[in-house]
């Protein structure tokens, strides 16, 4: 009997290959145009390929200096990794304590922290602004780090709490009987076992912090503290436009480099982290 290399399947394959390419067109065009010199951009069709891809470098260089994109890129390079790792670690300590140690009011404490995921961001804006100005942490790197860490904790706690409940208590009991302190227990047993979910969470939160615009707008105003998306907005947002189109598109690409890099290098962990968003199982 003839094997069913279903033509249907083949058609689907071509369909999805085609759709995927269509989906990538906006990005492809962005890359293409960011490689065009301004004159070439003005004169040739937008859809035409660049004549020399090397123009990406001057475009990117100009973009880096426009609107202090470079400085804010470095700011975000501090905010994203620091706050996401700190949040994951703090959340794991809290989750460890809530699941494995003797604590009164576990459920209350858990929901207290978890409720940080329930409200839309808009409800935080005004109070944070007022608080930050009043306590002189407005427009400071410390202020940004504190906020970004705080907002990453609730979801991380939720996931790790879930995860730790799957670690058998017998391991804990055995170690305690051997005289391990709770801290040693954490470092020798819990922490090594949770590298995968912690890494996945870190990636997810890194991306969130890196991509943030709203809180960067609210809580900073100067170049030394501004996160990268705020600068990008100033390059190309409504009511601002600096630089030529190829340069602005180059800026959009520059700004996406860290996320893309992490995604392509650690895709598996990324997907695991994303999977955690759909928890219900």
């Amino acid at each position: 009997m003839k094997p069913k290399i279903k033509t249907g399947r083949l058609l689907l394959l071509f369909l999805f290959a085609f759709l995927s390419l269509v989906w990538l067109i906006p990005l492809a065009l962005t890359v293409s145009i960011s490689m065009k010199e301004t004159q070439e951009y003005m004169k040739s069709s937008l859809l035409a390929p660049p004549s020399n891809i090397r123009f990406l470098i001057p475009n990117a260089t100009v973009a880096w200096n426009l609107s202090d994109l470079g400085s804010s890129f470095l700011n975000s390079l501090i905010y994203a990794p620091v706050s996401s790792s700190l949040a994951v670690i703090l959340a794991s300590l809290a989750a460890y304590s809530l699941t494995k140690l003797k604590v009164r009011g576990k459920i209350c404490l858990f929901f207290l922290i978890y409720s940080g995921t329930v409200f839309p961001f808009q409800i935080y804006l005004i109070p944070l602004f007022v608080m930050y100005t009043r306590f002189n942490i407005y427009d400071t790197r410390l202020g940004m780090l504190l906020f970004y860490t705080a907002i990453c904790i609730p979801f991380c706690l939720f996931v790790l709490h879930n995860y730790f409940t799957t670690i058998p208590d017998t391991i804990i009991e055995a170690a305690t009987l051997d005289g391990a302190s709770s801290l040693r227990l954490y470092f020798s047993i819990i922490f090594p076992m949770s590298i995968a979910p912690m890494l996945a969470l870190m990636l997810l939160q890194f991306t969130w912090v890196w991509n943030d615009l709203l809180f960067g707008l609210i809580l900073t105003k100067s170049v030394n503290t501004r996160p990268v998306m705020v600068s990008l907005m100033q390059l190309s947002g409504e009511a601002y436009s600096i630089g030529s189109i190829p340069q602005r598109l180059a800026a959009a690409l520059i700004v996406s480099v860290p996320s893309f890099t992490l995604f392509f290098l650690l895709r598996r962990y990324f997907m695991t982290g994303f999977r955690m968003l759909s928890v219900g199982k």
């Binding site: 399947r9 394959l13 290959a17 995927s20 989906w23 990538l24 906006p26 990005l27 065009l29 962005t30 145009i33 937008l46 859809l47 703090l90 300590l93 809290a94 304590s97 140690l101 003797k102 604590v103 404490l109 922290i113 409720s115 995921t117 409200f119 839309p120 961001f121 808009q122 409800i123 935080y124 804006l125 005004i126 109070p127 602004f129 007022v130 608080m131 705080a150 706690l157 879930n162 051997d178 709770s182 991306t207 890196w210 991509n211 943030d212 615009l213 709203l214 707008l217 998306m229 990008l232 907005m233 947002g237 409504e238 009511a239 602005r248 598109l249 959009a252 996320s259 893309f260 994303f274």
Partner: protein, 302 residues
């Protein structure tokens, strides 16, 4: 060899104190950070929503009249209407489409590669996506208009981001491009949870692909569908970055949504009470959906 540390009785008391207190030490940093930066603000916003305040002078208490006033303002009603359009569009367009894509893609060879192509926008910043699509929609010279020109459809050319309500729909198009990827991945995860025995049993009973889809796969995807719906709806209510960068809510506030109005009210106009009240209303709506999400999750694990 197991070594049991011997403690002298004085140290034993301290040891016991440490053991009983240290669990709380692990939690305190998280509790502190979340309480100060996330929980206290909620209370403060609610308080401010009952006042008129411009930051400079002291807040003036006006009570519920602030909320009543909201319903009278036409710009705000327009903003609310736009928000509903966003939410409705999210429900009608990307969610069904991504479901369809996921079902179609499930058994296709090279699935992982296609997944990446669709999922990529999820990794990008909304602000960066906005910059790119702003250029696509730019008029008179932009990618969309140029493509239309190529196909001889010059009459279809528009100032996509400048003509209401076209500008809202254009942005919804961008958001669709950005969200179909992650929604599709979610549905793929959901499809993974369908036991193959169920599908095989169906096939043995002689069910066609379409019958399998309609009677088996879709019903079993209901949990994931509700997750995607809740996430999508909440995202549509709170979407700020994309709109702010693409149109700033304009021109003339025509494409504002509640999220944009909240920001603009507080940080451009410095009408703190006004902004806070809208934020409270928005939060109440979003909370309804969050609760649905929460109930689903905690029904299983508590």
């Amino acid at each position: 060899m197991v070594l049991i540390k011997r403690r002298s009785s004085g140290n034993r008391k301290i040891g016991k104190l440490v053991t009983s207190v240290s669990p709380y030490l692990y939690i305190i940093p998280s509790v502190l950070l979340v309480s100060i930066f996330l929980l206290y603000p909620v209370v403060f916003t609610i308080y401010i929503s009952f006042t008129k305040w411009n930051i400079i002078s002291a807040p003036a208490f006006v009570g519920l009249s602030q909320y009543v006033g909201l319903f009278r303002e036409s710009a705000l009603l327009n903003s609310f209407r736009n928000t509903l359009i966003w939410t409705g569009a999210t429900l009608l367009i990307p969610i069904p489409l991504s479901l369809l894509l996921a079902v179609g893609m499930y058994r296709v060879a090279g699935r992982e590669v296609f997944k990446v192509a669709f999922f990529l926008p999820r990794v990008m910043a909304p602000a960066a996506i906005a910059v790119i699509w702003k250029f696509i929609y730019s008029a008179p010279r932009g990618i969309l208009n140029e493509v239309l020109g190529l196909f001889g459809a010059k009459f279809l050319m528009h100032s996509w981001l400048l003509e209401p309500p076209l500008n809202t729909f254009a942005m919804i198009g961008t958001a669709t491009w950005a969200s179909i990827g992650w929604m599709m991945v979610m549905f793929l995860i959901g499809l993974d949870t369908i036991p193959s025995e169920v599908l095989e049993a169906g096939k043995l009973d002689g069910a066609s692909e379409r019958q399998l889809l309609w009677h088996v796969k879709l019903p079993l995807l209901k949990p994931m569908t509700s997750v995607v719906v809740v996430m999508g709806v909440i995202a549509s209510f709170t979407m700020f970055d994309l709109i702010w960068v693409m149109t700033g809510g304009g021109p003339f506030r025509s494409s504002e949504t509640l999220a944009v109005t909240i920001y603009r009210g507080g940080f451009v106009l410095f009408k703190m009470g006004y902004s806070a009240a809208i934020a409270v209303v928005l939060s109440a709506i979003v909370l309804v959906f969050s609760m649905i999400y929460l109930r689903r999750i905690f029904r299983h694990s508590l």
